[in-house]
């Protein structure tokens, strides 16, 4: 045992020579714990010979790990997403000198401190469960990745320290010291990124292992980390965390808006909901591209896995994903449209037509996206269609169609946002007319180009479509976003406001749609996380270590969906609890004046339609 410990000491000291000074200090700290860790690893190896799995009676080991891991991952996504959100808000506040952004950032950093502890708690539970329930797998992974465990611990220490400084130093570091505080925020996000990408490599190694050759422990760990799906997952998760952060902030604001008693509160939370939704939507726009890259890498790594996911046993997960993303796109756009009609008085008639047009395009796209490749059909129906492929609608089932409609949905959502931005303002610049005409023409051309490429994609070899057509579609959409944003900003700079935005006038259903969006994002993360890990089917490490436990089978869709729903609900409760605890202090500080009536715009619609039952009318 001692010799093994010394060996590891030696390799670590070797590795330290390549590290910058700060890291060295951390490694030294980590080194102090090393003998204990090495001992634990040795113990696991010996255990693994006799016990490969342990079970939890009743719930089952896999289900327990499923729930705990999902909670840990969602919380982690939240803890990594919110600092990005807070830092952007702080940056905006610093640049525009608007105090409310700074306040918003601070409000969320406060939530971070309690969420951080909960995340770590679930991480700890997960680790103990994995060591206890899957000793064989954990011994293997420890053997492969041990040095990266140390890096992970070190990053955790740094992240914790930075978070404390960032949060407790908020008020102290105003004014001249603000730039340093912003730098701390940047560091916080940098460490958070590290904390995410290190464990990502363990999970992606399980899905796409590479053969690890000769070398010391550090070199071997690095070889294993550098697996084909590592960076695609990193990027995908990073963007998804921004989306999660944004929409959870939106949902928080939505709930607080619904609970608000005073006018100021309503205005504040209405605005906060707008900011959250905005950041969520903006994060969402590039997300499909990242997902596409990930799937491409999966296909290239192992086609069998790719087919299992996209066309085989797990294909229905992607239909559910299309459904959830569809609801999310509709929800986000709905919120924008509600914002236009409610925050800008008198604009309803003006925007009716474009909104209807956008809605129809979105629904058509969704119809295509949600049409499965293999349809659910009765025997008689299947016989008429000639199999479970429909001769006409079957063409919607393949990638070319899905890529096209998702690009168009992104375009529409972007235009929704541009419309919202320009609502209630009158351009004064002389070139405004020309600019608007050019933008309109560009938009039409882009839409047509995306569709033409999509249709053409059926008639060229798959590789041409994947390498050129799909990429071209993405570039067209990105081009529109990159050119329209500054152009509109320029237009708006000189525009005069005809109708001032009124905050705090949103109807109740806007609050619910913010909550719905957040639920959709959480559900999507649970769903696609399940897809990622079940694409390994009966392998712990794909093609290397088989799952020989009784839980090696892949459950049916409904069973998995029930678990995802449960996980989502539990996560919502945890987040609500964290928010509640974090705002206890505020309540004591600011007791709302008694007797101020809750003046939420209410309609005759009862709760089901998103209206409020006003005090006089009871629905019975």
């Amino acid at each position: 045992m001692t010799s093994a410990g010394q060996l590891r000491h030696a390799t670590i000291v070797q590795g330290m020579n390549r590290m910058p000074g700060l890291l060295k200090l951390g490694s030294f700290l980590a080194l102090l714990f090393l003998p204990a860790l090495a001992m634990a690893a040795g113990g696991a190896e010996i255990q693994a010979m006799s016990v490969e799995y342990r079970d939890v009676p009743g719930i089952g080991s896999r289900n327990l790990v499923w729930v705990v891991a999902q909670q840990h991952l969602l919380l982690a996504g939240f803890v990594l997403g919110v600092p990005i959100f807070a830092w952007i808000c702080e940056l905006v506040g610093w640049k525009t000198k608007e105090q409310r952004y700074d306040k918003l950032a601070k409000e969320f950093t406060k939530l971070l401190t309690s969420a951080y502890a909960t995340t770590a708690l679930f991480g700890g539970i997960l680790l103990f469960l994995l060591i206890g329930l899957y000793p064989k797998l954990m011994a293997y992974l420890t053997d492969m990745f041990f040095p990266s465990f140390l890096v992970y611990c070190l990053l955790f220490l740094l992240e914790t320290a930075t978070l404390y400084m960032y949060w407790y130093g908020w008020d102290y570091m105003q004014g001249n010291k603000k730039t340093f505080h912003l730098f701390l925020g940047f560091l916080l996000n940098l460490f958070a990124l590290g904390i995410m990408i290190v464990p990502n490599s363990w999970a992606t190694f399980q899905a796409s292992p590479v053969v690890v050759g000769e070398g010391d422990a550090w070199a071997r760990a690095w070889m294993a980390m550098k697996n084909p799906t590592w960076w695609p997952v990193n990027i995908h998760r990073l963007i998804a965390n921004v989306v999660l952060g944004g929409f959870i902030v939106g949902a928080y604001a939505g709930v607080r808006y619904l609970l608000a008693v005073s006018r100021e509160e309503r205005e504040h939370y209405d605005w906060m909901g707008y900011v959250g939704n905005f950041i969520g939507v903006f994060g969402m726009l590039p997300l499909p591209f990242a997902g596409y890259w990930l799937m491409r890498e999966v296909y290239q790594y192992n086609q069998q896995m790719g087919i299992t996911l996209m066309g085989g046993f797990l294909a229905w997960l992607f239909i559910l994903q299309a459904m959830l993303i569809g609801v999310l796109f509709l929800g986000a756009n709905y919120y924008f449209w509600l914002g236009i009609t409610h925050r800008i008085p008198g604009s309803e008639g003006q925007y009716k037509k474009p909104v209807m047009g956008m809605l129809i395009v979105l629904l058509l796209c969704l119809g295509v996206w949600m049409t499965p490749h293999s349809l659910v059909a009765s025997l008689a129906e299947a016989q008429k269609m000639g199999g479970t492929h429909h001769p006409l609608l079957g063409v919607f089932g393949v990638m070319s169609a899905k890529m096209t409609v998702s690009n168009i949905m992104i375009l529409v959502t972007f235009m929704s946002f541009i419309m919202y931005w320009r609502a209630g303002k009158q351009e004064t610049a002389g070139w405004a007319k020309a600019a608007k005409a050019i933008m309109g023409a560009l938009l039409v051309i882009a839409g047509i180009a995306v569709v033409v490429l999509g249709v053409w994609g059926y008639f060229v070899p798959a590789i041409i479509r994947i390498n050129y057509f799909s990429v071209a579609q993405v570039l067209i959409v990105l081009f529109i976003m990159v050119t329209f944003t500054p152009l509109t900003a320029l237009l708006m700079k000189s525009a005069k406001t005809t109708t001032e935005m009124v905050w705090g006038k949103m109807p109740i259903r806007a609050g619910y749609s913010l909550v719905l969006n957040a639920v959709m994002v959480i559900l999507l993360m649970s769903l696609m996380g399940y897809a990622r890990s079940s694409s390994r089917v009966h392998w712990h490490i794909y093609g290397v270590m088989r799952d020989t436990s009784e839980y090696a089978y892949s459950p049916a869709l409904g069973y998995a969906a029930a678990f995802m729903s449960l996980n989502t609900f539990v996560f919502c409760l945890i987040v609500a609890f964290i928010f509640w605890v974090a705002t206890l202090g505020d309540k004591a500080k600011a007791q709302p004046p008694k007797g101020s009536p809750v003046d939420i715009p209410s309609h005759t619609a009862p709760a089901m339609a998103g209206g409020a039952p006003s005090s006089g009318e009871k629905l019975e």
């Binding site: 659910v376 025997l379 129906e381 590789i463 005759t604």
Partner: protein, 241 residues
């Protein structure tokens, strides 16, 4: 009740008629699951549009709630309300009953047509060069072994095809072999229907296990002949120079 409700109902009904009765005039009828999906989308669109602003919400939902709450109603409308309130649970009950009542129809199924192949078959390339002779030989073998079901025109309409459900694959459809690699076809021909994984429902496929009858060389050449005859190209992952 007028305005958005009526127009919404007309749109829904029109969509239903289009999907259920008009579309089958030009193509195969749609399965019920797909019709439900499209109608649900249309309904959500109507709801979103109707609830966009306070006035449109009132225009759409107001009459419904006034009707259902029964405030100040008399005579016919009161009777109609009572009738709706009585009919609705009955409707739900009927729906539940018709779902649960045993029938002689097999349940709807969800067969994956192109499931993932086993690892041994992933990434194999055709070892035989694409020469006219090889393609001709493949076509000859195809005519002898495959065309009775898959058809002499590669369209899945061979003389024996009407006897099978699911029907033999139509290779001229761009959704079949054009989406697959040669290695995939090699697996399906070699192992046949019984070689499918569970999601492919091996009990449904009548495809023979050709490894029992034909050497691998024949199978590879048949694949070549098949693509050539159906005017399709196999899917590849690397660009051909």
């Amino acid at each position: 009740m007028k305005g958005p409700i009526i127009s919404g109902a007309i749109i829904l009904a029109g969509m239903f008629i289009f999907l259920k009765f008009l579309l089958p005039l030009v193509t195969a009828p749609l399965p019920a699951s797909l019709i439900y999906l499209y109608l649900a989308l249309v309904l959500s669109g109507i709801l979103i549009y109707g609830t966009m602003s306070a006035s449109s919400l009132e225009a759409m939902m107001g009459p419904v709630f006034r009707f259902l709450s029964g405030k100040g109603q008399t005579g016919a409308s009161q009777m109609a309300r009572l009738a709706v309130l009585v009919m609705f649970p009955l409707l739900v009950g009927w729906q539940t009953y018709s779902r649960l009542v045993p029938s002689d129809l097999p349940p709807a199924e969800n067969r994956t047509i192109h499931p993932a192949p086993p690892g041994e078959f992933v990434g194999l390339a055709n070892p035989y060069p694409k020469t006219p002779e090889n393609i001709m030989m493949g076509k000859g073998l195809y005519a002898a072994y495959c065309s009775p079901c898959h058809g002499a025109n590669y369209d899945g309409k061979g003389p024996a095809a009407p006897g099978f459900n699911p029907p033999p694959a139509n290779f001229s459809d761009p959704g079949t072999i054009a989406q697959l690699q040669e290695a995939y076809l090699f697996w399906r021909i070699k192992k046949g229907g019984v070689g499918l994984p569970v999601e492919g429902m091996p009990w449904k496929s009548a495809m023979p296990r050709w490894e029992e009858e034909l050497p691998e060389e024949f199978i590879w050449k048949i694949i070549m002949g098949e693509y050539d005859g159906a005017h399709q190209t196999p899917r590849t992952w690397e660009e051909e120079e």
